[in-house]
């Protein structure tokens, strides 16, 4: 029996999630926005695993979902960075305010 209440883990998860969300809204560099999205995904993973360990079923469904989240996060970072690099090749900037032309 772990002597840390479940709520503490969820508090950390929600704190990290909102920090990440604030980062996505405030920062202008596309790569930093990607990093904040990763933070949000991590926060969701922590909540999933914490609740899964609390329910302590035979099949740890939360942990299984976390494995799929890992896969999707990795794929998303790869494609996101590819998009950023392709846009950078067009116009040498990574600020999301200045990448607003579709043609070119």
């Amino acid at each position: 029996m772990l002597s840390v209440p479940l709520g503490w883990f969820i508090a950390v998860s929600s704190a990290l999630f909102f920090i990440g969300a604030a980062g996505v809204l405030v920062r202008r560099n596309a790569v930093v926005i990607l990093m904040c999205v990763e933070l949000m995904l991590n926060a969701a993973n922590l909540a999933l695993v914490a609740f899964s360990r609390r329910l302590s079923d035979a099949t740890p469904r939360g942990s299984v979902f976390v494995i799929f989240t890992f896969v999707i996060a990795a794929a998303e970072v790869a494609v996101g960075l590819a998009i950023v690099l392709a846009a950078y090749r067009n116009q040498p900037t990574v600020e999301v305010d200045e990448i607003h032309e579709l043609k070119g």
Partner: protein
Amino acid sequence: MDFIAPLIFVILAAIVVAGGLAVVLLPRITGSALSMGLSFLGMAGLFALLGAETIAFFQVLIYVGAITVLILYGVMLTRVAPAGADRRLFFQKQAGWALVPLTFVGVVATVFALSFQSNVVQQPGGDLEPLANAVFRDYAFPFEVASVLLLAAMIGAIALVKRGDD
């Protein structure tokens, strides 16, 4: 001796949250990238504390080992101002407007979360066997679909950055 687990939790949670704050607040991109890596490490520690050690080491392998390196590649290949700091850090107006409702929601969520007082139960024997049984028996089809998704993402990323004259 019952204070060691909460103590370890507080240290790890501090690392995670401080890393997250550093990602958002640091002016230098490489500093943000590395504090993101540190936050991931702290998160792996939290997973291990919960008893999900397989997930913890997957986190280190995937997030710290691969995603942080990928983001560092992205940072280094898109250097606009090579001398380091950005000119302006935040939009002054929009930052305020964005953060107030978020902070409100965040506080409400944390208070709600802290009302969970039940402790986490740990099964003996670690979590490798139940996890492996679940992934490869009950959820084998989503597992295969996930590998197809990775293949599609790889091909898509390569196609996006290929130069047209190759």
